[in-house]
């Protein structure tokens, strides 16, 4: 009998047979009886004597079955017995995962079941089961639609909704995804979905490296053609247009969820060729309260690609059981809006910014405040005229200069959210970032627009320069900046400016620690950053500023400064020459120079070519800021010789908090003198509005201590300040991991760096948290042993890494010698002995490499994770390859 419901065969991997049961349900209206196979941990929980807080109702998609949810059933049940998870705080949930009728091991009813029937079927089942109390739906694929449809019809029961890759709406402009289009061709439909397992197999192929037994388990209910009829019916039920019988039902769901004012979570595999990011964006627009996490690298069968169950349970605990955190009280002081100077000086003929090498021109371009204010206003109006709405995301792929400045301030003024990803991510990383942010509009230079076309970046396209009509058409460009300004010259008033709490920008991290993350900032936070920079570095209206470091330089107009972009290839900081800095400084009589650490090396290397007037100009500079990575004192000392009147600052910060502490060259020297063997890099004292605390590491290397400012305690550096990020974009887990709320209501950002404070309140960085070595003798932070090893003669740079399991790791030093070695090797007995003596802690081995691997962006942050993996392999008897 292939048509009647049955229990799954025994021995399917990961599926506990005690959860399987059959439920017979009368169909409302017809009275027909249908038997469902469901997975249900209710009895298991009852046996453990635990009353669940509610029910998670899971609905699979096509062509899977309840097997998809097996890990959630196990995780939800194991919470009870797992002492570590403290089920009082996680919450115990009953999980019911159904096999939809005609699917899995449920009845083959002999009738096709369009969407409206399937939603009603699920209602019949939950009524039979007598579901009460709080129910959270959880759907995948078309099961997402069915479960959300059920939720819209049972709002009194629903206290939350969750979904894995799904969609509730087919945007009018989007073609049906190719795979489905293929499956929907009438001749192919039957053969691919029913007569053969082609559709099944291609769906399973969407999960990377599914083990054969798991693949077989997914196929288990669909071994014969008659058992696969439901798969074909399901595909045929996808409403391709409004004439389809399920179109009305789908529309009811997609509009109905707008009224579901309950917590929502979407867990997403971006590598899904069917339900791409556009459907996530659509869902987030319908349910703006929703949380989302995109798992980079995961695909359509996200349930197989990532361990989603703990994430779901954690989210339920935080969002559904605890409820949202109380709103953070509005600050008493509100920094001025970023564009306020453009309003204030809109009639000023004074220079706002200078571009030393503007694109397509041979001479520097000077832009007055009046011109800049006019251009920003025109652009803002033009963008509005072209449909850019407040809250729309605008990906800006324009190099620093006048165009970028005008575009940014225009977007900010109309409340559009600026998405900025650095070309330094490489085209692959950049594309992941842009697609992940899913912009509504893209403003780019030619090269960016070509990439956008080739890589399928979404959104309306605007070009920086006017393109020939044919080129514009082929790249899908709607208008150029010039055309936008023309369109904006209507004199129509601009809309209301955004509120301080509205989202202003999504800035992508450098990607030096995993895939680039989008960091979301509100207007209030960016204004606070601008205000902090002004206070910290005494920047006032008219201060001349050489803008060699983009993130701060873009705040020039907000600061009221006169900023100048030097002649350089901004995507490659090491193209900045000393002469270019001097010429830029001369153009605005600069008092301050911003430079990236990578640029300073080339500035020093090209200093010999400076003319006397150029040297004189540099002598007038009063401050230099080099942000992005710590720099060694000798390098800074040489910079100081080039800029003899300047105070050399190296602020400490990250994309999530661009300025946390500051130290001057003098401060670095004082710190080194007062604490010679500190085991860290001194990054100075907290900036004006910043609080720095330390969360002490426990014996397992976990930052578990409450944030404290006690000196001498090593732990994770946490920071609070008005200009720290609002959240990570569509990365709920990352965001939840990144914050520590203390009892007094302060929200701390976890930097992922480890260090300590000294008795004078200075912060010393000792490395990255994931690089901490947990030996049997205790926790070792890498910077201390590295500094000591670097004192040994002949050693250029050292990296301290851990080999072996945490808790009994061995300390290994990897050395780059001053005289470059051609291939990696073990250190000589003499060098090994010297390094052991210098480090003063047990060192298992010393390895020498030609060059320590550094992350490409900073060329100064040693990639210790990669070195640790390499050393582990070598010291296990592997080949002595290059790291």
């Amino acid at each position: 009998m292939s048509g009647a419901a049955s229990l799954p065969p025994a021995g399917l991997p990961g599926l506990d047979p005690r959860y399987s049961r059959l439920v017979t349900v009368p169909e409302r209206g017809t009275g027909a009886q249908h038997t469902w196979h469901v997975l249900d941990n209710g009895d298991a929980l009852a046996q453990l004597g635990v009353e669940p807080v509610g029910t998670i109702l899971c609905v699979h998609g096509n062509p899977t079955w309840s097997y998809l949810w097996r890990s959630l059933l196990s995780a939800a049940t194991d919470v009870v017995t797992d002492a570590a998870s403290k089920h009082a705080t996680i919450g115990v949930w009953r999980v019911i995962a159904v096999d939809q009728l005609n699917m899995g091991f449920s009845d083959r009813t002999g009738t096709t079941r369009p969407l409206s029937t399937r939603i009603a079927d699920l209602g019949d089942l939950t009524e039979t089961l007598g579901l009460a109390g709080q129910v959270v739906t959880f759907g995948h694929d078309w099961g997402g639609v069915v479960s959300l449809g059920w939720a819209t019809q049972h709002p009194h029961l629903v206290s939350g909704v969750m979904a894995l890759n799904t969609a509730v709406h087919q945007p009018a402009d989007a073609s049906i995804p190719a795979l489905l289009r293929l499956a929907l061709r009438p001749i192919l439909l039957k053969s691919s979905t029913v007569h053969t397992t082609a559709f099944l197999q291609s769906t399973l192929a969407l999960a990377s490296g599914l083990p054969a037994p798991v693949r077989a388990a997914y196929l288990a209910p669909y071994l014969t053609a008659d058992r696969r009829q439901g798969i074909g019916d399901f595909v045929a039920d996808i409403p391709v247009d409004q004439h389809h019988e399920s179109f009305a039902a789908l529309t009811a769901v997609s509009s109905g969820i707008r009224d579901l004012h309950v917590p929502a979570l979407f867990l997403w595999g971006p590598k899904d060729p069917i339900f791409s990011d556009r459907y996530l964006v659509d869902l987030l627009q319908r349910m703006p309260q929703a949380d989302a996490h995109r798992f980079e690298g995961a695909g359509h069968l996200i349930a197989e690609d990532v361990d989603f169950a703990p994430v779901a349970l954690r989210w339920l605990a935080e969002a559904v059981l605890t409820g949202p955190p109380p709103p953070v009280s509005e600050p008493t002081h509100e920094a001025p809006a970023l564009w306020s100077n453009l309003d204030k000086y809109r009639d000023s003929p004074k220079t706002a910014l200078v571009e030393m090498a503007p694109p397509g021109r041979s001479a520097p371009r000077h832009v007055s405040w009046r011109l800049l204010a006019t251009r920003v206003k025109e652009l803002a109006a033009g963008l509005r005229a072209h449909g850019v709405q407040p809250g729309d995301r605008v990906s800006v792929l324009v190099p620093p200069g006048a165009d970028l400045t005008a575009v940014l301030y225009a977007c900010l003024r109309i409340g559009a959210v600026v998405v900025v990803a650095d070309a330094g991510l490489g085209i692959g990383g950049l594309s992941r970032a842009v697609r992940g942010a899913w912009p509504d509009h893209v403003i780019g230079i030619d090269r960016a627009l070509v990439a956008a076309k080739a890589l399928g970046w979404p959104g309306q396209k605007f070009s920086t320069r006017r393109l020939p009509a044919g080129v514009a058409r082929s790249l899908g460009v709607t208008a150029s900046l010039g055309e936008l300004m023309t369109a904006g010259r209507t004199g129509a008033p601009l809309p209301q400016p955004p509120s301080p709490g509205d989202l202003a920008a999504v800035l992508f991290t450098s990607g030096s620690t995993g895939p680039a993350k989008g960091v979301a900032y509100t207007h209030r936070q960016l204004s606070a950053l601008s205000e902090l920079l002004a206070t910290q570095y005494d920047i006032t209206v008219g201060t001349g500023l050489v803008a060699g470091f983009a993130p701060f330089a873009l705040l020039g107009p907000a600061l009221g400064a006169t900023s100048v972009t030097p002649d350089m290839d901004v995507t490659s900081p090491s193209t900045l020459t000393a002469a270019a800095v001097a010429d830029a400084a001369a153009a605005v009589d600069a008092r301050i120079v911003f430079a990236s650490p990578a640029a300073l090396g080339n500035v020093l290397a090209t200093a010999d070519a400076l003319t006397v007037p150029q040297r004189n100009t540099l002598s007038g500079v009063q401050a230099l800021l080099s942000a992005g990575a710590p720099l060694a004192e000798p390098l800074l000392a040489r910079v100081s010789q080039l800029l003899p009147s300047a105070t050399i600052h190296t602020p400490y910060g990250m994309t999530e908090g661009l300025l946390l502490t500051d130290i001057t060259l003098g401060g670095i020297r004082d710190a080194a003198k007062s604490i010679p063997d500190s085991g860290g890099v001194c990054v100075g004292v907290p900036a004006a509005s910043v609080q720095i605390r330390i969360s002490a590491l426990d014996g397992a290397g976990v930052a578990s201590g409450p944030p404290s400012n006690q000196p001498g305690v090593t732990g994770e550096i946490v920071a609070a300040a008005p200009h720290i990020k609002d959240h990570y974009d569509r990365l709920w887990v990352t965001q939840a991991d990144s914050v520590r709320d203390s009892d007094d209501g302060t929200r701390w950002h976890r930097t992922g760096d480890v260090g300590h404070l000294d008795s004078e309140g200075r912060l010393w960085v000792e490395g990255r948290l994931p690089h901490v070595i947990v030996a049997a003798s205790g926790v070792i932070t890498p910077v201390g042993p590295e500094h000591r090893a670097e004192q040994v003669s002949g050693v250029a740079r050292a990296a301290a890494v851990g080999v072996g399991p945490s808790g009994t790791q061995q300390l290994v030093l990897v050395i780059e010698l001053s005289t470059r070695r051609r291939r990696p090797a073990m250190a000589t007995p003499r060098l090994t002995a010297d390094i052991r003596a210098a480090v003063g802690r047990p060192v298992a081995a010393v390895l020498v490499v030609p060059k320590l691997p550094t992350d490409i962006r900073h060329n100064s942050k040693v990639d210790r994770s990669r070195l640790a993996r390499w050393a582990t392999d070598v010291l296990a008897g592997g080949r002595m390859r290059r790291p």
Binding site: G807, T808, L875, A876
Partner: protein, 328 residues
């Protein structure tokens, strides 16, 4: 720590070796009354030597008479040889001494074992003490020692408290096993380093192994029923160890390098030849030795140190100084 222990009447088997002598000396220093059982004199002042073998039931009955504790070191330690010989001593001898000890009313029994009883040939990096596995252990020595350890631990009761101690690669001055072989081969230019010689290996300085065995006897009441890997807890690369030992002995450290896979294959062939023509020396490279020298094996010592309330007193560097002094 040792001063506070109640003096006991202890039998030490296999006391004529380098480690056995150190154990006997340690026990005497701790105030115990020590009898030894081996085929020749233990040559330790203050010990009562009984000449015999662990394969002779009569010898065992006589030797264990009146004893309160036994430290069982006697074993056939070799890298080549007939399986039957290993079985007779390492399995049969252990079963015999266990039976005799229980019959004599002994309450504490320390089985001196080897980490190779749980070593299947793959790298061990920071693992704890894994169960002995006679099936997967490599070579006749390790397999029979695994059986012996299982026998000993299976005899553990609250009245007959058995602790198994597995010192890893014991070395020290006067050692005829590891050190003498390494030095002799290096002197003849027959000691290759495998691959880069970079795999990390734990070793145990002889006096530390001895103090750990004494500690196991003292802690038997709380530590019994389990095995504990013992080492210096200072993993070093093979190359560095060989270099240090050769320098201490005044011979040239090894230079030439053989890929580990070649050495393992060659080791297998030599081993096969050797077992057909047993001779005066060991084969230059057995498969077991090739594995030992081309894979990492170092251990998590936290549980051992806590359970035995012991830590090594002699560092590797200090041990090498003492070794060098012994060659001068």
């Amino acid at each position: 720590m040792t001063m506070s222990e109640t003096p006991m009447k202890v039998l030490v088997t296999g006391a004529s070796g380098s480690l056995g002598q150190a154990v006997v000396a340690g026990l005497i220093a701790a105030g115990h009354e020590v009898r030894t059982l081996q085929r020749r004199s233990s040559a330790v002042a203050g010990a009562e030597d009984f000449i015999g073998t662990v394969t002779d039931a009569e010898d065992l009955t006589t030797a264990t008479a009146g004893r309160e504790a036994v430290v069982h070191l006697a074993a056939k330690v070799s890298m080549a040889g007939a399986l039957a010989e290993f079985e007779a001593v390492n399995v049969g001898g252990t079963a015999g001494i266990l039976a005799a000890a229980r019959a004599a009313g002994v309450t504490r029994f320390v089985q001196v074992s080897s980490p190779s009883v749980a070593h299947s040939g793959t790298s061990i990096m920071g693992a704890g003490t894994l169960p002995a596995d006679p099936k997967r252990a490599r070579g006749a020595y390790a397999r029979t020692k695994a059986q012996g350890e299982l026998l000993a631990l299976a005899s553990d009761t609250s009245d007959f408290r058995v602790v198994a101690v597995r010192p890893h690669l014991v070395w020290g001055p006067g050692d005829t096993q590891l050190i003498a072989r390494i030095v002799e081969r290096a002197r003849r230019g027959r000691l290759p380093l495998l691959n880069s010689g970079a795999c990390l290996i734990d070793t145990t300085y002889r006096d530390n192994a001895a103090s750990a065995i004494v500690a196991a006897l003292h802690r038997a009441d709380t530590a019994h029923g389990h095995a504990y890997v013992v080492s210096n807890g200072e993993p070093r690369t093979v190359a560095e160890l060989m270099d240090g030992i050769c320098r201490a002995a005044g011979v040239t450290p090894p230079r030439w390098r053989v890929p580990a896979a070649v050495a393992r294959a060659a080791g297998g062939a030599v081993e096969a030849l050797w077992s057909m023509r047993p001779g005066e020396d060991e084969p230059p490279m057995t498969r077991f030795l090739a594995e030992q020298l081309s894979t990492a094996h170092w251990f998590d010592q936290r549980r051992t140190r806590e359970a035995l309330q012991w830590s090594p007193a002699v560092s590797i560097d200090e041990g090498l100084h003492r070794l060098a002094a012994s060659y001068r």
